[in-house]
């Protein structure tokens, strides 16, 4: 009897394990299927179908430090085209001497008595300045705005920018934030700015493609985005002293279950770096900041695009390593497998080349030089590969930072070496603790 019971229980356990295994297998297959469906699915969010006025109070917050005349123009345009929007200018501790010389804030105040002006007690950088303004608004909770629009101080807008953005945000209750399409204001300055113009065109295309893909585009850029005030307060406002607070905020919103989206008809123009040094530092901050967000496990579900991008890059690095390790020069004809790879690669390249050329139709500011740049491909190829060096530098920097934490400095020599290396990294744009706007 005892044996029989034992055999039955063994069979029972085996049966249970088979059932559990089948269920687990089914779950895995279902998840893979859902992932496959979601990467091909289109946006299920609704867009505003008409131009009716929105019934919501909107505050536009412009944090600024040492503003230029373009900020005055921005405030003027905001007031002129959006009389229902309250403009808040946050002076992030601009030196008194600077204001005495340029009179920017005086010019802004002259524009309208309705412009609200705040001044931080110390330089808090962009995220801190926005938080400061929101904290001031929260002192009067009954009159909190429904929507907060955050803008860089060097943005140019048109008549439709803000209304379209706000309407897109409010068109769907699931959406927590919306951003504009980015255009380059100083595109014709030099070759570098032209290449950035083409790159921004690609950013917009990816944002359109990413509508509803794992809760929406990767970044609601800091240049010009709109947020529901309640949502911002719920997730805890902007992260201060973060390298890229806009990406961090987007990841946080998506992790909290909100969707984010691009407002396709809302356009904004910004000035991009005009020298290689400035561009390098900007991208070092973006990529380095992106890697810090990648290091936060809870954000992974919100940033699959970035995870895949880094995985692909590392796979390619591994590929190069394999070539270097196993490669034997002059071994002759490529094998069948290699030939297939080559053909597939070339096919992929052709498809994307055609797409890139076709997509130029959406580039309103294009001119013959842009066409030449795109058609010849070589300038963009070089540009993208130089920027890949920034990514490689960011990996080395993170590795250095991690090593410095794991092996704290002991003797004087290693202390000097560490501080020297840190200074070197800082010189080429890799640091852990700056903000969007320097003091």
């Amino acid at each position: 009897m005892g044996y029989k019971n034992e055999t039955r229980s063994t069979h029972g356990v085996l049966y249970m394990r088979v059932v559990e295994g089948t269920q687990r297998f089914g779950t895995i297959i279902r998840r893979i299927w859902c992932a496959l469906v979601s990467i091909f699915s289109m946006s299920d969010l609704s867009l505003p179908r008409d131009n009716v006025a929105y019934n919501a109070s909107v505050y536009a917050i412009i944090p600024t430090h040492k503003p230029r005349k373009i900020t005055v123009q921005l405030v003027r345009d905001l007031i002129r085209w959006n009389p229902d929007v309250t403009v808040c200018v946050v002076d992030d501790c601009t030196p008194k001497e600077y204001e005495a010389q340029h009179h920017i804030f005086r010019s802004i105040r002259k524009l309208s008595p309705d412009v609200r002006y705040f001044r931080t007690q110390e330089n808090r950088l962009k995220a801190g300045a926005i938080n400061y303004a929101i904290a001031e608004l929260m002192r009067d909770p009954e009159h909190l705005p429904d929507v907060i629009v955050t803008l860089d101080d060097d943005v140019v807008i048109d008549q439709r920018t803000i209304p379209e953005l706000v309407r897109t945000l409010l068109a769907d209750v699931r959406v927590g934030a919306a951003c504009t399409q980015c255009r380059v204001l100083n595109k014709n300055k030099n070759m570098l700015t032209r290449l950035q113009g083409l790159e921004y065109l690609g950013f917009n295309a990816v944002r359109i493609a990413d509508e509803s893909f794992f809760n929406g585009p990767l970044v609601m850029h800091g240049m010009l985005s709109a947020f529901r005030t309640k949502t911002l307060i719920e997730v805890g406002l902007f992260a201060e002293r973060h390298l890229i607070e806009d990406y961090e905020m987007t990841a946080r919103l998506k992790t909290a279950g909100y969707r984010v989206r691009l407002s396709p008809q809302s356009l904004a123009w910004t000035e991009v770096p005009e020298t290689f040094g400035q561009l390098w530092r900007q991208r070092a901050r973006w990529i380095n900041g992106g890697i810090t967000i990648l290091g936060v496990r809870k954000y992974w579900r919100a940033i699959p695009q970035d995870l895949i991008g880094h995985a692909m890059f590392l796979a390619t690095v591994l590929l190069v390593g394999l070539i270097a390790f196993f490669g034997k020069a002059g071994s002759g004809e490529p094998s069948l497998a290699a030939s297939i790879i080559i053909v597939l690669s070339i096919c992929q390249a052709i498809v994307f080349y055609v797409f890139q050329v076709w997509y130029m139709r959406y580039y309103a500011e294009r001119d013959p030089v842009d066409w030449i740049l795109r058609l010849t491909l070589v300038p963009e190829f070089l540009y993208a590969n130089v920027l890949t060096l920034v990514l490689a530098g960011a990996y080395v920097f993170r590795l250095f930072e991690r090593t410095a934490v794991i092996f704290p400095v002991g003797n004087k020599m290693s202390r000097i070496t560490t501080s020297w290396l840190r200074a070197l990294f800082a010189r080429i744009g890799f640091t852990s603790g700056w903000g969007t706007k320097g003091a």
């Binding site: 867009l47 590929l319 094998s335 992929q348």
Partner: protein, 91 residues
């Protein structure tokens, strides 16, 4: 460019160059490892690239359609307002 998960012509051109180098100068275990890795990378990148393009075309088409509807409605509202003005003034 690596973070544009759909991939770009540039990224793929780089990959193609690498594969040509790898395919020409590799053999034996190295070629097998390279082939597996590269086919994996190719598969994932192609899948994501195609998916990104499909999503782009669908969403862009939808955005264009919404814009058309909006413009048509705006035109109707303006025409209606004009006709009302004409009616008021007896014209």
């Amino acid at each position: 460019m690596w973070n544009l998960h759909g991939g770009t012509a540039i990224g793929v051109a780089t990959s193609a160059t690498l594969s040509i180098i790898g395919g020409t100068y590799l053999h034996g275990a190295g070629l097998v490892a390279l082939s597996i890795l590269f086919l994996g990378v190719m598969f994932v990148s192609t899948l994501l690239a195609v998916a990104t393009m499909v999503r782009f075309f669908r969403n862009q088409h939808r955005n264009d359609r919404y814009a058309e509807i909006k413009d048509a409605r705006q035109a109707w509202v303006e025409a209606h307002a004009r006709s009302c003005v004409f009616a008021d003034t007896g014209m």
